[in-house]
């Protein structure tokens, strides 16, 4: 038994340590240095990278963007996904086809989705701008102004991910015991009451899970930002990860970039622990 364990466990643990745990530990160490990645880190500067980071307006905007993406995921994507799930949970003609269509964007790479919508929102050649012109408006350069560019990013996120959350809700809805509805109906509950007092509470575990995925996904959003806006215009549509990439990797400021990584790590871990403690402890 021990021999088998000694052969079976170490390869996975070693690889995990080498490429996940050690780099995370190194990020914590590098974050205290001013280092360009060559040679060994020598210039120890304490928490200066962190101070610089929190004073950096672009980073603060990026962190705020992450927060706004979370708000939009919960405020727009979740209701849309739930609505579609309620329409499609039952076995009806066409239900499966609609489910597949709504799920389709989820399997595409974020990079492809971002680039497709860079075209859709392109002021010169994109359909949105062309339609606006055919309706008598001027050309619409959505990606050229920070506010509209960020709106575009939210649209792409909802477009790509609502189908995944819909599938979670459909699975949740199908798992609800039908007799609960029969009992509620016998007690005279109207459709609306059944929704609020049976469907939603029964669906709560799946809703919590879906919100969890939305937040984790929002915190690591990167692939979509680069092709869609590249973080621009004026570096106003960055997320924490695209900020890390552009300002850490792009300028080989390994120490500064690592500080971003540590902040991202701390936020993610605190959130994951806190969320599971507070909301998911019964499951």
């Amino acid at each position: 038994m021990l021999v088998t364990a000694a052969v079976f466990v170490p390869p996975a643990v070693l690889l995990f340590t080498l490429f996940v745990v050690v780099p995370m530990g190194e990020a914590a160490r590098y974050s205290f240095y001013n280092w360009n990645g060559y040679g060994v880190p020598k210039a120890f500067i304490g928490v200066k990278n962190y101070l610089q980071l929190f004073a950096n307006a672009t980073f603060r905007q990026a962190a705020l963007n992450n927060l706004l993406i979370i708000v939009a995921s919960i405020g727009i994507q979740l209701p849309l996904a739930l609505g579609m799930a309620l329409l499609l949970a039952r076995r009806e003609i066409g239900s499966v086809a609609f489910r597949m269509i709504f799920f389709l964007p989820y399997i595409l790479a974020d990079v492809a989705a971002g680039l497709i919508f860079r075209f859709i929102f392109d002021g010169d050649y994109g359909p949105v701008s062309s339609l606006a012109q055919q309706l008598g408006f001027g050309p619409l350069y959505m990606l050229a102004a920070p506010g509209t560019a960020f709106t575009a990013l939210i649209i792409v996120i909802v477009w790509k991910y609502f189908g995944f959350h819909m599938m979670l809700y459909i699975a949740g809805l199908q798992g609800i015991d039908r007799s609960l509805y029969e009992a509620a109906t016998m007690d005279g509950a109207k459709a609306r009451q059944r929704f609020w007092h049976v469907t939603l509470p029964q669906l709560a575990p799946m809703l919590k899970l879906s919100v969890f995925f939305s937040i984790i996904g929002a915190l690591q959003l990167f692939d979509m930002v680069i092709p869609l806006t590249g973080g621009g215009p004026f570096d106003q549509t960055h997320t924490m990860v695209s900020f890390l990439y552009s300002f850490g990797m792009g300028r080989m400021r390994i120490g500064f970039g690592s500080a971003v990584g540590v902040v991202l790590f701390a936020v993610s871990v605190l959130f994951a622990f806190g969320y599971q403690r507070l909301l998911m402890r019964h499951e």
Binding site: R99, I116, A171, R178
Partner: protein, 297 residues
């Protein structure tokens, strides 16, 4: 996460539902229901169709005829890409990296999961918690030190240098999923095999693995899609365009032909085509794999 409720039957998500749960749904007036669904479906599909059709248009027609079918079908945009080496090279690179990632992920995580599911050994609980840490934070947080690490190992700009970190990132989820799957096999099987003198390794190879095909394919699908669509890891770790997987190749192509949208659109269409074809051909498995994987993790 491992304690979360699981789907009773992931395959119930599509195709035949076990029992219609008629009260759990929203009862709209049917034509209204259909209108809403068609509208959402149009919003989902139009960007994809505009992209695919745009690849057949001349650049000026993108402006005058944004959403319609091309007036003249310009196949040459697509032919130029299909007859060139670049497209096949980026797809080939993605396939090599994804296949290696899946094989290594399945191999390493199934071994570890077997040990965690059936063996009692010193540090078992600690090691399992240790691996679970990998689910807690995004890979991007440690991406700069990862670059340094891979560089110092001399693996920068190689398939191996991309595959190993990708496997490492997918191990946590894979091991947890497989451990839960392996535990659901009846324990009498193991007892009987032990009494008959079957060793753990033979039991693993000839009983556990063959009986666990559904969960293995779920883990395989997740690892494959994750690798196929991965952008950040190869972006950091590769320099040579000859090694670029398709997301990097696509961005590279867009950078080169940024003014010729019709070519970029054709290139996007062709690079996402394999994923769409496989999705349409194997919907059940893809949906079940990707959602059940997320839920059961």
């Amino acid at each position: 996460m491992s304690e979360l409720r699981t789907l009773q039957s992931p395959y119930g998500l599509v195709g035949r539902d076990a029992k219609p749960r008629r009260w759990a749904t929203l009862d709209l007036y049917p034509p209204f229901r259909l209108t809403v669904l068609l509208l959402v479906a149009a919003i989902v599909l139009l960007p994809l169709l505009a992209t695919a059709f745009g690849g057949f248009k001349e650049v000026g027609e993108l402006r005058t005829n944004p959403l319609g079918l091309p007036h003249v079908w310009h196949w040459e945009n697509y032919w130029a890409i299909l007859s060139g080496a670049r497209y096949w090279q980026v797809l080939g690179n993605s396939l090599i990296v994804a296949a290696a990632t899946v094989a290594l992920t399945l191999g390493l995580s199934s071994m570890a999961a077997f040990a965690f599911a059936h063996l009692r050994f010193f540090g078992e609980q600690f090691l399992l918690t240790y691996l679970t840490l990998g689910l807690m934070f995004p890979a991007a947080a440690a991406i700069l030190p990862l670059f340094i690490q891979v560089r110092d190992l001399g693996l920068l700009d190689s398939y191996t240098g991309v595959v190993l970190p990708q496997v490492a990132f997918s191990l946590a989820m894979a091991t947890l999923l497989l451990r839960n799957g392996f535990r659901q096999l009846p324990s009498e099987l193991l007892d009987a095999a032990r009494i008959d003198g079957c060793g753990y390794i033979r039991y693993f190879l000839y009983i556990t693995l063959p009986l666990s095909r559904p969960i293995l394919s779920t883990v395989g699908i997740i690892a494959f899609v994750g690798s196929w669509n991965n952008y950040l890891v190869p972006l950091i770790l590769l320099n040579s365009t000859a090694l670029y997987p398709w997301p990097l190749g696509l961005m590279d192509y867009q950078g080169q032909y940024s003014t010729a949208w019709q070519l970029v659109l054709a290139f996007i269409t062709l690079t996402i085509l394999p994923a769409i074809v496989i999705f349409v051909a194997a919907q059940r498995w893809m949906v079940a794999g990707l959602t059940a994987g997320a839920v059961k993790g």
